[in-house]
Symmetry: C2
Subunit: 119 residues, 2 copies
DNA sequence: TCGTTTGTTCGATAAAAATGGAACTAAGCC
DNA sequence: GGCTTAGTTCCATTTTTATCGAACAAACGA
């Protein structure tokens, strides 16, 4: 369990489990957080990822995503910046995030994972 | 919702959701069921996939896997034969099952999803 | 028809998760 | 120091899941 500076604890890459990742992604808000982060070039703070829900509720969701190793959070001033742990996830479960996010070799493919209506 | 002969109801391919699939796979027994089915050439009955747990408990897990569209079940005599809905899952979420099962282009890759120790 | 096998359904209980207000902490600004 | 902003932690409540015995149902064979 790596403890970043004075910050959050994120699980080591080797300990990431499919089970925890799936649990983390089985909640609609958490899935939206992941999708929003994937779509964003830059890290995003918690407020921007709260979808109008109470802070305490969202803080709970961030914690679960962090604990599953999906998210990485660092403090920058008053805010907490979140990003996907994409490289670690890709090494540990190659193709998983790509499939979830609807990134396939074929640009026309993966309609469902991109939120588009199926052909 | 397709209702097979006199049998089980399985969701239509178009309605499969990542969220439901993730929830289904976030339980250890359910994940093992999926992995066992993937490893098996032939469909398997419920007893062979029960890992020594009570029937009523496992029946519950089968129902969730079916409702998520992960599993397909048919009656054959007294037994219920289960198989992965691999084709439907692959069409709807290309690469997802391959990543979960640790099937990658490179035979040496995806150690974690195949249950092997990471290099 | 009776008994056996396989699995589902019911129902009660226990365990786990989600929710959100309130109090609190850390960082920055005046 | 006092004030503001951004999140976390605490705590109680609700909701959802999991667990598993017991009763039930369907298919088959003797």
């Amino acid at each position: 369990m790596a403890r970043d500076e004075i910050g959050f604890s994120h699980p080591d890459e080797e300990t990431l489990s499919l089970e925890a990742i799936f649990h983390a992604l089985s909640d609609p808000y958490r899935l939206r957080i992941v999708q929003a982060l994937a779509a964003s070039a830059a890290p995003m703070n918690c407020g921007d990822l709260s979808f109008g829900r109470p802070k305490s509720s969202m803080s709970h969701h961030f914690r679960i995503l962090r604990a599953a190793g999906v998210l990485h959070t660092t403090s920058q001033g008053v805010e907490h910046m979140n990003s996907l742990r994409r490289a670690a996830l890709d090494r540990r479960f190659p193709g998983l995030m790509a499939a979830i996010l609807g990134e396939t070799g074929h640009p026309a493919a993966a309609p469902a994972a991109r939120g588009l209506a199926p052909a």
